[in-house]
């Protein structure tokens, strides 16, 4: 069975979905990603869906699930590169992915994760200093 590759970029994980998602692939990705977050102690997960033309309610829920799981493991999930048509479909489906952060492209997404993580680390420093 084919799997979607998960790349490690600094302390973030990058998942680029370039094939049409079917449900089993989505479940496998969810599982792999959870394991990898723990293994690499990642602070952020970037999911690039710029190549996805069809996102149904199942994939939408998978994104929500991944975000929820990552949050438990102290990692931010950023979905990047959603196409306009996909965004409209998701909204019409009533899936606004409230728990997921979004960004226009991978670059902006990385920035977002770095910003959040940087802020968290600074907080820790301030705590130690005081």
């Amino acid at each position: 069975m084919d799997r979607i590759p998960i790349l490690k970029l600094g302390d973030a994980l990058l998942v680029t979905i370039q094939v049409d998602m079917h449900d089993r692939l989505a479940t496998a990705l969810e599982e792999d990603l959870t394991n990898r977050i723990v293994k690499h102690k990642a602070h952020g997960v970037l999911i690039d869906i710029s190549a996805l033309e069809i996102v149904d309610s199942f994939i939408g829920r998978m994104l929500d699930n991944i975000a929820a799981v990552s949050r438990v493991l102290d990692a931010d999930t950023v979905v990047v590169g959603m196409r306009p048509a996909v965004a409209i479909t998701l909204v019409e489906l009533g899936l606004s992915l409230a728990g997921v952060r979004t960004a226009l492209n991978v670059e902006r997404g990385m920035e977002l994760i770095r910003l959040r993580h940087g802020a968290a680390e600074r907080d820790v420093d301030v705590d130690n200093a005081s």
Binding site: A87, I88, T102, L104
Partner: protein
């Protein structure tokens, strides 16, 4: 073999074409077709001549059924003429008169000619009248169709015109909405906005609803959808331009937008600049500070 009435009519049209066209043009110009200056005499003459020629060809094929293929060129010509008339702003009467005013010259020509026996004249005239009536009605149909097309095109243009996406700054888009927000327009607005976000890499979109006359539950839902879609693309939305009455109505209706909202576009722009770590400063320094 005796020739049919229609074939004889075709013969008559060929023989007397010049005089028929002349009479027809006179009738048309007394009817005021030329006075408005929307159409010139040579153009009208060309239209008349080619219509007569088409009619003759059709009649020569011994057919008076306007649905027959023999009439296709004539109908095409009439369709073109009505279309141009509709665009030039002729009234329906003026357009229909183009065909109907041919009756008089044609009947005159039949009277003058010796091709018909005296006792068959009434029948011939009746046939001519029937034929021209059908063609006249066809002209009206076409005229109406072109008018409808004009209206549809204008509607589309209006809906596109009233939903421009304006770039305010690098990464800041504004969407000034004017007019009522219905489902169809929301769709257009959403598509325009999302496309512009992708194209310009915008981070912040300001939706200005100063020009929206009323905000009811449906409009609010449409707004929220647009905001949600933009967020999914990775852009933040700010809603601005909520007028006092509308704010009151919204509160009375129990509507909550759950998005950043500002009273004016200027306020929203200020927020957007702040988020991009930019600011607007006065170039002139305060003289008191220099002293």
């Amino acid at each position: 073999m005796p020739r049919s009435t229609l074939a004889v009519l075709a013969q008559l049209l060929a023989d007397q074409e010049a005089s028929i066209v002349k009479e027809w043009l006179e009738t048309l110009s007394t009817g005021g077709q030329l006075q408005s200056g929307r159409i010139r005499e040579p153009e009208l003459r060309t239209q008349c001549t080619s219509f007569l020629q088409g009619l003759r060809t059709a009649l020569a094929q011994d057919s008076n059924d306007t649905a027959a293929p023999a009439f296709a060129p004539v109908k095409q010509l009439l369709a073109d003429i009505s279309k141009s008339r509709a665009i030039q702003g002729f009234s329906p009467t003026e357009t229909a008169m183009f065909v109907f005013s041919l009756k008089q010259p044609l009947v005159n020509a039949i009277n003058r000619s010796e091709l018909f026996a005296a006792n068959s004249l009434a029948g011939v005239v009746w046939q001519v009248t029937l034929l021209l009536d059908t063609l006249g009605l066809y002209t009206m149909d076409e005229y109406q169709k072109s008018r409808e097309q004009v209206i549809i095109r204008q509607q589309r243009e209006i809906s596109e015109l009233s939903t421009p996406v304006v770039k305010l700054w690098d990464g800041v888009l504004a969407l000034p909405l004017i007019g009522t927000l219905d489902s169809e327009r929301t769709q257009v607005v959403m598509e325009n906005l999302l496309q512009s976000i992708v194209e310009q890499g915008a981070e912040i979109a300001i939706i200005d609803i100063t020009g929206v006359p009323t905000v009811d539950t449906l409009t609010a839902q449409h707004l929220l959808k647009t905001v949600a879609a933009a967020r999914l693309m990775g852009a933040d939305c700010i809603v601005s331009g909520i007028r006092p009455q509308i704010a009151q109505t919204m509160v009375h209706l129990g509507l909550e937008l759950n998005v950043v909202s500002k009273a004016t576009l200027a306020d929203a722009f200020a927020v957007a600049l702040k988020r991009l770590n930019r600011t607007v400063v006065s170039l002139k320094t305060d003289p008191r500070q220099q002293a």
